[in-house]
């Protein structure tokens, strides 16, 4: 559906509203859960995408986040734990005209579903994945997840977890993802923008959304989302813009060999020209990977925004091409001929 450009949007579609995307089921997340905001932003942005409601399909695994499809008045499939990418791939393969969305959690996508995650990225179906990363298992009541920081004390790790967490952005990039972004449940405008960009990208779009689980992991991302700390601890990635951040846009990031370095833009020693300029369209994914690793170095701000956005052929498109080529070469399949192919003989 993505190839419908906005100019060709039928009128009926343009008049859709958030309400049209709201299902009649009671929303059952804990009061205060970050999932509400993600739902609301999705419901708000969808009417703007210019495609009819019936062409949206939301597919999820299992987890708090994965109840999402029930609340969307679109086609939806709440599948099994970790397997949403596979079912979404089937949906898209069978009908490339649908706008297919995978809704998943950090456990769903990266723990049990890790394999499907990396393979979805490399196949580059035109599917959008929203990963609600709350760094915890919400639905099963608070065990650590593959994105929980090492040492995290949870019900299953009373002495602290001992596995190193994944960096979902790095993993997606290394798996071959063509669109990789991060956004925040508590930054509605940014979130809507990223969801829209993900939709517009042709190929698999991976969006990690930091999501607050106020029951089992409250405040996990407050450094990046709350007013007092946000500006100094995040850097918003904008294409072709230097990496500048801080309350007064007073800091920037330089490259030193392969290492990022924070510099002051007010001490006169550095100008924005010296900073790394973001290039989300870079074919080479080293920059994006480099940015994704900044999350780990102390003192560095957390990158938010689109890390990479590169057009590559989509799986379903190539499949269609093969089918067309085959039809051209061998002619449209003729069942009678197929059954009678090879060496046959008659008996009277």
């Amino acid at each position: 559906m993505k190839n419908r450009t906005s100019s060709s949007i039928p009128l009926a579609v343009q008049t859709l509203t958030k309400q049209d995307f709201t299902a009649d089921q009671d929303v059952r997340w804990c009061p205060g859960c970050g999932d509400y905001s993600i739902l609301a932003q999705t419901q708000r942005i969808l009417p703007d995408l210019g495609i009819p409601k019936e062409d949206f399909v939301f597919i999820s695994g299992i987890g708090c986040s994965s109840r999402f499809p029930y609340y969307m008045n679109t086609y939806g499939f709440h599948t099994i734990h970790g397997r949403a990418p596979t079912i979404a791939s089937g949906v898209k393969a069978a009908n490339p005209d649908l706008s297919v969305w995978v809704i998943t959690g950090d456990g769903d996508a990266l723990s049990i579903g890790g394999n499907h995650f990396i393979h979805l990225m490399r196949r580059n179906f035109d599917i959008n994945m929203l990963l609600f990363n709350n760094r915890i298992y919400g639905l099963t009541k608070g065990q650590y997840s593959p994105t929980s920081e090492q040492g995290k004390k949870t019900y299953s790790t009373p002495m602290g977890s001992i596995d190193n967490p994944f960096n979902p952005i790095s993993l997606a990039l290394a798996s071959g993802a063509t669109f990789v972004a991060r956004s925040l449940d508590r930054d509605p405008a940014h979130l809507r923008g990223v969801i829209k960009a993900a939709f517009e990208h042709k190929g698999t779009s991976f969006v990690e959304i930091y999501q607050n689980c106020n029951v089992y992991n409250d405040g996990a991302f407050f450094t990046y989302t709350e007013k007092e700390t946000k500006a100094d601890n995040t850097v918003f990635l904008e294409h072709d813009e230097p990496l500048v951040f801080g309350k007064d846009a007073d800091k920037g990031i330089c490259l030193n060999g392969f290492k990022p370095e924070v510099v002051s833009l007010t001490d006169g020693a550095h100008t924005p020209d010296a900073l790394i300029t973001h290039d989300q369209f870079a074919e080479d994914r080293t920059l994006a990977y480099f940015l994704s690793r900044m999350t780990e170095a102390p003192g560095l701000p957390h990158p938010i925004g689109i890390f990479r956005s590169v057009e590559n052929p989509c799986y379903e498109g190539m499949m269609t091409e093969q089918i067309n080529a085959a039809k051209e070469q061998m002619g449209e399949g003729d069942l009678e001929a197929l059954l009678n192919a090879g060496d046959t003989w008659g008996v009277e």
């Binding site: 679109t74 979404a88 008996v347």
Partner: protein
Amino acid sequence: MKKQKQLIEEATIMFASDSGGGSQIIGTQMTEASAIAGNDVATLPDYPAEIRAPAGSLAGISGFQLRFSSLTIHTPGDICDVLVAMNPAALKVNIDKLKPNGVLIVDIDNFAQRNLRLAGYNSNPLEDDSLTRFQVIPVELTRLTREALKDTDLTQREIDRCKNFYALGMVCWMYNRPMDYAFQWLKEKFATKPQYIEANTLALKAGNIYCEATEQFATSYEIKPAKFAPGKYRNIEGNMATALGLVAASQKAGLQLVYGSYPITPASTILHELARYRNFGVKTMQMEDEIAAVGVAIGAAFSGALGVTGSSGPGIALKAEAINLAMIAELPLVVCNIQRAGPSTGMPTKTEQADLLQMFYGRNGESPLPIIATSRPSDCFETVYEACRIAIKYMTPVIFMSDLYVAFGAEPWLIPKVSDLPAIDVDFPTDTDGFEPYLREEVTLARPWAIPGTPGLEHRIGGLEKADISGNVSYDPDNHEQMVHLRAEKVARIVEDIPPTEIFGESRAELLVLSWGGTYGAVRTAVEHKQAEGESVSHVHLRYLNPLPKDLGEVMKGFKRVLIPELNLGQLRQLIRAEYLIDAIGLNKIQGQPFHIFEVESKINELLRGDV
């Protein structure tokens, strides 16, 4: 020397060589030639375990057994008339399959010390007395082939690879088979390598002439065409027929076929076959694992395609959770289990039918699914087609069971007319009025197949228990009970689609032999033999395992005893006993091998006469 020509009813030949040695190829050639000549044929390839073992070793032997007959046959034969053994290991592995006084053709050039040792022979069996009960025909196959091809441009290695065609030439002479089919095949196969066409053609002819010329071969045999029902035939392997059945079902239903799979013996060739049909719009997707494979099939089904997945036991085990999802989501899906010998990795290149109860029960909770099983290569088409038809009609996953023996075996297939294939009606609703995702069709209890893209029918499904009619999530106790019963009832109602049970033989007799799956051939033949001897025994072969035919209980009452032969420890027997409280008796073989006819016969004897 005057050669004799003798008319015989049938013959069984085994070709055996290193796995690179071409037995499968010449076996297939001989099969095709025999089929085209009008014989009934049945084949049994015997692949070595997993990997190509070093040349000359026992583990590397690849065999191809072929039976052709002027009568109707159902199995590739218990025992062989001719064994062509290309080296000592091939001899050692297969000699037990040669009947007393059978013809043993060996390439003596390959019986050097090293090869004998590799095969574990202490002394040369051609020189000691161990083979005296056979008609041994030693042939200098290597030397003769080199001789015949000495004027070609091939390297010695290339020349040696033509030995199999030399052997084929000999066998063609023995059974008076025209070689045209092989000539033609060589032309197509090596279209870009004319030197290979020439060389193999030369070898083929040389082998043929050799028999004509040498005194070693005194008699050749003729086998008249078998009587077949009128129609057009082709020789077909089980998995190939399965693939065609799937394509046919999708075409008749007017649906896209999406086949999600992950390679595994013996299911992979269905994937390979289907991958060739892109011009039918067939979308084969080799996925990262079996779960993803069934996942794409389920997603495709949700989108309105015919979603199919195929695997073998270990892979099917992995799919269980997702199949259960499709069950509760009530989506059409066909799951092909091409069984191999288990448990665990087991013996991947051997056959068995020990996954039946897994298919019935291998999912958490009450998860009823229709199960149907094919009986022979030519039956795969119709059976898998039927699986698709039921899946769509009843909106349910259906299990289609086959096994390695059927999958890799081949036999003549009466090609159906496309117009004669049962209709498969697909109704994608579009009417929004009163639409409910779990409102059921009255007779079949099928829910509507409302697919994404249909305006106004937006709805959500999932693996949580769903409220009757609305399909919303429900934790209501009574609703759960009702839904469990509804799902069971839906599968039970498929019984109405099952034709009355065909009894082969009298409907009242001493003994009923009840079988399912790939044992059909051996059981049917054994019963035929016993009936010919006037014994009071009949045969029922089940295609539908779940639900069982509704007359089966009645049918079984006509018999004093019921024998259930199975390549497992008694899985159908367990079901029959539980359902009908009948003290069914088992004949159970679990050796990775199909039944021999005589095994079934002697069990029948035992039961009829009490001989043990």
